[in-house]
Amino acid sequence: MKLVLNEEQQFLKDTAKDFAEERTPITHFRNLRDTNDPAMWDKDIWEEMVNLGWSGILIPEEYGGSDFGVTGMSVVLQECGKTLTPSPLFATAVLGAYAIKEFGDNEQKSKYLPLIASGKITTAVAVDESSHHNPANTELSAVTSDNGFVINGSKKLVVDGSSADVLIVLARTSGSMGELAGLTLFIVDSKADGIIRSKLEMADSRNYANIEFNNVAVGASSVLGSQEAGGEAIDHILDIGRIALSAEMLGNSEAAFSTTIDYLKERKQFGVLIGTFQALQHRAAEMFCEIELTKSSVMAAMQGADENSNQLQVLASLAKSIAGDTLHLISNEAIQMHGGIGVTDEYDLGFFLKRARVAEQIFGSVNFHKERYANLSGF
């Protein structure tokens, strides 16, 4: 494994950087928030992303994608993270596309992947049921019926859940809460009878929903992957999501850090630039080191995903915990170093802090991943 991007990946990253800077600078996000956009992402921008091929990066060519890999997908999210660009990329192009590509049967792949690649549908993956991420704690049940299953239960904080056309739902078909065994994944139409979606207003102003399932009937063909093997499958899908999200969080960190360094070079107090103060210089230098460590971890994780590394779980937990720790540190320090202006809504930094804390919770907090890293590493 070489911890550098190849030429094509670098090109994709440069394209994404230009796009984010020109089409979706932070003012784009601010407008969406201020206008209380229901989806919290812009349809025209999404169409442009689809035209650039980003919705199909993880999708094989035969289904209309480019099969460009997790590294390519992640560097796009990293660049979007720098300008806090909201879009269906994470929930649809990463999670939905990967879940169906990796675990779908031929019929499911033919049905959904071309629609995802061409931007005609968006997806959401519904996993958590309580305030903390833990796939094993799934209670939502899918009970066999005459022509399929009946789903009952509720899901919390589903990313893009309020607008997605298709839901991928983790359900218990046997066993009891706390076990990864006995879980099954289902592909469910979000408009099916018995589904109630409640849009959530979270600190980061993005698209989330709580979703209730009341006697939702689905056919046997809606099982994604093998029945009862959903625990293993979701763990793998989540790892890809964690890696991509870590890349986005790295982008958040890089941008907040660079804004802060610029500020240290222009803000004067006591007649001097505050960047001359060693108390700030050393903290800035430490943040630099943490970002460098995060870059390496994210790079190793996304390359590991593309190389089918048998260390994927370890690398995903490494990346998500380091990316979380680093973004936590930088989102706090950036505001402190800016002083008063840092806590005003008019200034953009607060967006990074709010996004940081929500992203830290999605698919496992720093603590969740430290514990998982320890378990996987045999201590």
Partner: protein, 396 residues
């Protein structure tokens, strides 16, 4: 390619014939192991250590890329790669540890006169002369450029007076490369020269330093009216600071790699120590709080290792990155030792006597020794200064 394959067969045949059996994998563990530093007064517990050094030195393979005219191997990069692979394959011991090789030789190659290269490089390469480094002084630690050891121009020679400190192995070295003040009236960075001094010269003396961890290779080195030939200056008079900085980069890189290599190769593994002393439950360290500290530490270690790898894959740029590695590597090593002795409880602070295991007592000493890691070769604070100014461009 064909030439390279020929070269490989030659190397293999030569090693087969010339690398003594106790110098490779499978050596009889009863044979004492030497840490070979060479020099005029070198002593060997195993005579084959000397034979191995002499043979490798004669080939110039202790510094394979140095041109043959200076005693080196005259090999190109591809050949060196093959040589290293073949040495690795038979598990050959490093024939020579040497500040001459790691620090002085690169400087001589870049700044030395033809005469100096011809005189000193072959002896470094053969391990005939052992060098030490005279940089720090009692009054010049982080502010190295304020050094006061003076070399006065006495017409046909320099007269050196002053004191150096933290000179590793000065009591065993034959020569010292030292920074001396030759321009007392110049601004401090512009009055320093890089001077080579034979330790046998009249007026040079050394005294070992005992650290909080006990015995150490460090010494104080005193210069009392020491006469040094004028052509022993490397580079231009009063232009020694540039050379000093170059050399420090080599040193920093060396120290940070050292920390990680030590962590990777050490039997003193944090996880096994923690499991031993806290017990384990289903493979987990049986102390939740400590386990979480270990996880935190191991994750950082993993990320740091990947960062060293990435720097290599990117083609290893910028000296400022060396500062990051020095800072992070040494702080990490300190933390690792704190965690290890903490895991060991009372045994972690054992000092002496028969009641404690040898390895436990040694760990206490290692832990104390790590306190110097973030001071020697530029303190952590100096490294953070370098990062904030040179990488981040923060104003002074």
């Amino acid at each position: 390619m064909e030439n390279l394959e020929n070269f490989r067969s030659e190397v293999r045949a030569w090693l087969d014939e010339n690398c003594p059996s106790s110098m490779r994998t499978g050596a009889d563990p009863q044979i004492p192991h030497d840490e070979v530093w060479g020099g005029r007064n070198a002593e060997y517990k195993n005579p084959e250590s000397k034979i191995w050094l002499d043979r490798m030195g004669a080939k110039g393979w202790t510094m394979p890329t140095v041109p043959k005219e200076y005693g080196g191997g005259g090999l190109d990069k591809d050949q060196v790669k093959i040589l290293n692979e073949e040495l690795f394959l038979i598990g050959a011991k490093t024939p020579l540890l040497s500040f001459g090789i790691w620090m002085l030789a690169p400087v001589l190659l870049e700044y030395g006169s033809e005469e100096q290269k011809k005189e000193h490089l072959p002896k470094i390469i053969k391990g005939e002369i052992r060098w030490c480094q005279g940089y720090s002084e009692p009054g010049s630690g982080s502010d190295l450029a304020s050094l006061a050891t003076k070399a006065e121009d006495k017409g046909d020679h320099f007269m050196v007076n002053g004191q150096k400190v933290w000179t590793s192995y000065a009591d065993k070295a034959d020569w010292i490369f030292a920074l001396v003040r030759t321009g007392p009236l110049e601004p401090k960075h512009n009055g320093i020269s890089f001077l080579l001094i034979d330790m046998e010269t009249k007026g040079v003396s050394t005294k070992p330093i005992t650290l909080i961890s006990g015995k150490s290779p460090f010494c104080e080195t005193f210069f009392d009216d020491v006469e040094v030939p004028k052509n022993n200056i490397v580079g231009t008079l009063n232009a020694g600071w540039e050379i000093a900085k170059k050399l420090l980069q080599h040193e920093r890189k060396f120290i940070s790699n050292f920390g990680l290599a030590a962590a990777a190769g050490s039997k003193k593994d944090l996880v096994s120590i923690a499991k031993k002393h806290f017990g384990e439950n289903d493979g987990k360290i049986n102390n939740t709080f400590f386990r979480s500290e270990v996880a935190d530490h191991k994750i950082k270690e993993h990320a740091f290792g990947l960062t060293l790898q990435r720097a290599g894959d990117e083609g290893g740029k910028a000296s400022a990155v060396a500062s990051m590695f020095k800072y992070y590597g040494t702080e990490h090593n300190k933390k690792r030792h704190e965690l290890m002795i903490s895991a060991m409880g009372k045994d972690g602070v054992a000092w002496d006597g028969d009641e404690f295991a040898e390895e436990d007592k040694n760990l206490t000493k290692s832990w104390l020794r790590t306190k110097g890691n973030s001071i020697e070769g530029g303190t952590s604070e100096v490294q953070l200064n370098v990062i904030s100014k040179r990488v981040l461009g923060l104003p002074s």
